[in-house]
Subunit: 110 residues, 2 copies
DNA sequence: TTTATTAATCGTAATATTGCAATATAATAA
DNA sequence: TTATTATATTGCAATATTACGATTAATAAA
């Protein structure tokens, strides 16, 4: 029914899937890569950089902000965005643990 | 319109988001964790392990299989699933590169 | 104050995802 | 052959996501 049954999973599983979900759209991947690439905050030019309409970008930024992965500072009429370093590092720990599970165990199958 | 404009993004960005999207549901995270935890392939008991209905689990398994992250071997009437090690490693490389982007650059903002 | 400029929000259409009952398929057992 | 068992597929209802035009809000410039 389009609704995920979160209550039957652990907090960790839900956390991992929430982080993954926000990376599950190329526009958000692109925004984050841009924020990493540029040697400062990004004010305004994300709409030009990526080819989507301004309300669409704004919506994607909101999702990234809601998860705490970016933060925005108001500078005059524009807003400067950058990676939230502490939260990114924390997210990375959780995701890395999931990605780096031990592959060497089950040798005797498949 | 619910449809992602993949053509305006790079292959890499689309690849990252496709992997992330499949991790974007706790049931699939749970399935993968179980496959890693158990010291062999898993035949059948995933439906009991996770609390969702059999068609639902089957659907999630299909998505993981479509992306190549797991493989299934038919054993009699049941099917044994396990992590596709080579593909998992390849995915890990792509995702790690994205997660491990350099945070030290932009010190002078936000 | 009036007029840009920039970004957020609202409303809505189109499409995607989730979950499951019902059914189908495939292999084995009796 | 006829159950039985295990998994996949189909069809559908409920909900979520994506995208964007129109509008609003907030600040800056004239």
């Amino acid at each position: 029914m389009g609704v995920t049954k979160t209550e039957m999973f652990t907090d960790e599983q839900n956390k991992i899937s929430l982080f993954a979900k926000v990376f599950g759209h190329p526009a958000r991947v692109s925004i984050l890569q841009h924020l990493f690439k540029i040697n400062s905050c990004v004010c305004g030019d994300l709409v030009n950089e990526i080819g989507l309409a301004q309300p669409t970008i704004s919506q994607h930024l909101k999702e990234l902000k809601n998860l705490g992965l970016i933060k925005g500072n108001i500078e005059g009429t524009s807003v400067c965005y950058c990676i939230h370093k502490e939260n990114w590092t924390e997210m990375k720990t959780i995701m890395s643990e999931f990605l780096n599970q031990d592959l060497s165990k089950n040798q005797n199958c498949c």
